[in-house]
Symmetry: C2
Subunit: 139 residues, 2 copies
């Protein structure tokens, strides 16, 4: 299993909106990402929903709606819905309640899983698009 590449594509899109000063249509962007324009439009729609991006029906071009330093990778990750809140890890459903272990295993494991997930997400919180763009500029 892996976390959907929608996340990587979302970062790619936002980075491109910053660095490519031309008008960025879904087709332009799709050319850079190397995928289908409809895929781009869908992801942009998700970025728009959380107000990271400005885009209008019929009007060519998407734009960033926030400063680079104000967009964390966690924002993008949440926008594209690659992982549900507190559900990075699956619990097995319906362990046997008549068994001492089965009765208690879920509530024992769940907080551990959640804290592992949060540790991962905290790393994403501490990286902004500005960091990403700067790194790309350095190449």
């Amino acid at each position: 299993m892996t976390i959907s590449s929608r996340f990587a594509v979302g970062i790619h899109i936002l980075t491109l909106l910053e660095l490519n000063k031309e008008i960025n249509t879904s087709e332009t962007i799709a050319g850079s990402v190397n995928t289908n324009p409809a895929v781009i439009r869908k992801i942009i729609g998700m970025l728009k929903k959380v107000d990271l991006v400005e885009v209008h029906p019929g009007k060519a071009g998407a734009k960033l709606k926030k400063g680079l330093a104000d967009i964390t990778l966690l924002d993008v990750y949440q926008a594209v819905e690659v992982v549900s809140e507190n559900e990075l890890f699956s619990l097995h459903e319906h362990p046997n309640p008549d068994c001492f272990v089965g009765r208690n295993i879920q509530q024992t494991i769940e907080p551990i899983f959640i804290s592992a997930q949060l540790a991962m997400e905290k790393v994403l919180l501490n990286v902004t698009l500005e960091d990403v763009v700067r790194e790309i500029d350095n190449k």
Copy 2:
């Protein structure tokens, strides 16, 4: 997307091997986990491969092969192969090399993804089965 419940089941199995002093056959365990014995046998096979568990063809019962304090959740996580090394996050393949962003995005993003994954795995490294069993005993 979620990380397979094989991980949670693996923890369940090992915990049961510790706490249930009867002979733990795949059917016994399946009864506690509430799944099919063949599923249990497959996961036990994976735990056996990394030497966490002792089990023999034709001979009823699996046993722990290490002390509880010497088994981390990371050991279990790796044993059941729910996430490949450095591949929790997917990169999109083949971004356009003729585009400045496309050419550099992957190598920029990858180390961030890896460090996020490692942060998550570090939490699992710091929890042992002893912690889990103690927590269950406290209930």
